[in-house]
């Protein structure tokens, strides 16, 4: 099992650790609800160094990324990032990712830890022009500092103007005395905040400085468990749960990052889906009957007929409701429609709702 450069710190903090995507990761420190609320109301720090980072640079970099991803990379200004996905040839998704434009011809792709090798091989397979690629995952530490108080905690540590940084923009600058740190106004929580990329050799020093600076803001270390409840309240897809090698971007509600202004893998099929419509679609739902939906529970029509499967589900700490997502036939996808979730041997009533489930105050 691999470890992140913060492993010792997590253990000292008494985190409950578990294997995730081949890494020994902190799942929770003080309790999921407390950590979840800390991110929504103050500021929390996630170690997400397990994520993968690829540098793609030089002439041909833009063409390569355009070809393997669905979003339009050509619209990115330098110091701007976008959410995107890589479709496969069979109608599914290889991975979802962030694309950062670092320079005129330089890009960074941030991919899921579980897919690092698969993504690398996939992109290389399409790299017919031999564009320069480097996998910097093992030497890159990544902290997600998330929550409404993230700016006040991080601003004293850097010369980058964080207050003025727009969502999905980034800058490189000095952070905790370390040069060339990349800070982006991104995250997976819907709580605001930043993601900070730096060399693993500075990991402990940077962690300690962030926590010193955050002491008066109620900063806490927060684990992957509340990362999941936070993202699910926002209706963000999780690769491996809500999207995978078999789900199409259109069915997954990712039409907004699928741009037909350019050519890309499996474009014709995906464009046809967008034009002609799909037969199933991901929806968000909340439970009406008491019960909690979980990954792989069946969705039924109430008459015992299975119509789909739950892809993600949880009790939502900020909503005090049980919520979930899953794929259903298009006729069941309208807001307000009643569906049923098969929980143990009961059919529990639920209702399709609009996502995000959680709306920032």
């Amino acid at each position: 099992m691999k470890s992140t450069p913060f492993e010792k710190i997590h253990q000292q903090l008494g985190a409950k650790m578990a294997e995730f995507a081949g890494y020994n990761m902190p799942i929770t420190y003080k309790g999921i609800n407390e950590e979840h609320n800390c991110v929504r109301n103050a500021v929390g720090v996630f170690d997400v160094s397990h994520m993968g980072e690829f540098i793609v640079r030089g002439e041909g970099a833009l063409d390569l990324i355009q070809r393997v991803t669905t979003n339009d990379v050509a619209v990115l200004a330098i110091n701007q990032a976008q959410y995107s996905c890589m479709p496969n040839n069979d109608g599914g998704i290889v991975d979802d990712l962030l694309v950062y434009r670092l320079s005129e011809n330089g890009y960074m792709l941030v991919v899921n830890a579980s897919n690092i090798d698969k993504d690398w091989n996939w992109i290389q397979q399409h790299n017919t022009a031999n564009v320069d690629m480097e996998n910097i995952s093992d030497k890159t530490a990544l902290l997600a500092v998330q929550g409404p108080k993230a700016t006040e905690v991080l601003q004293p540590l850097t010369d980058i103007n964080l207050k003025e940084m727009k969502y999905y923009h980034f800058a490189k600058g000095t952070f905790c005395g370390v040069e060339n740190v990349l800070i982006s106004a991104t995250g997976y929580t819907g709580a605001g905040g930043f993601e900070i990329y730096f060399d693993t050799k500075h990991a402990e020093m940077i962690w300690n400085k962030i926590f010193e600076s955050g002491a008066t803001s109620g900063i806490q270390a927060v684990g992957l468990a509340c990362r999941d409840t936070l993202r699910l309240e926002m209706g963000f897809c999780l690769y491996g749960n809500d999207i995978d090698d078999t789900t199409s971007p259109i069915e997954a509600g990712l039409g907004w990052i699928t741009k037909f202004t350019k050519d890309f893998t499996n474009r014709n099929n995906i464009e046809a889906q967008k034009k002609n419509g799909v037969t199933k679609k991901i929806v968000g739902f909340e439970m009406i009957d008491r019960g909690i939906p979980r990954h792989d529970y069946l969705i039924t029509d109430g008459n015992g007929n299975t119509i789909g499967k739950v892809t993600s589900g949880t009790q939502a700490p900020s909503l005090n409701k049980a919520i979930g997502m899953g794929y259903v036939p298009i006729e069941y996808s309208k807001t307000g429609i009643e569906i049923f979730i098969s929980v143990r041997d009961k059919q529990l009533k639920a209702q399709v709702v609009r996502i995000p489930f959680y709306k920032a105050k």
Binding site: G31, I32, A225, T229, R290, G291, T314, Q315, A322, R344
Partner: protein, 126 residues
Amino acid sequence: MNFPDNLRYTKDHEWVKIEGSTAFVGITDFAQRELGDIVFVDIPSVGKTLNHNEVFGTVEAVKTVSDLFLPLSGKIESMNNGLDAAPEAVNKDPYGEGWMVKMTFSNAAEVENLMTSEQYKALIGE
């Protein structure tokens, strides 16, 4: 962690409090810590007679679901209705406000198979 001497325990991390032919059942301090924030205790077995080790309900934490196994054969007489509105009582007070069911047990000999607090502590490595 706290494991009162006046209770008996199971390998499935339930505690049992014997009062005559009645037993109160809940989950241990160790179990609630392992599960984390408990958000729902589902007990569909009230009024039913079950054998020991049969599932009598489910406890749901934010991220996990665990079955509850009946420590003794007998009839589930009632459940702790307070848990409906406040399932977090299982975390805060597992042996008090967090009790789960009250039952009448049918085979007193089974009580002798339950663990003492010393045995339970040894099981979980305390």
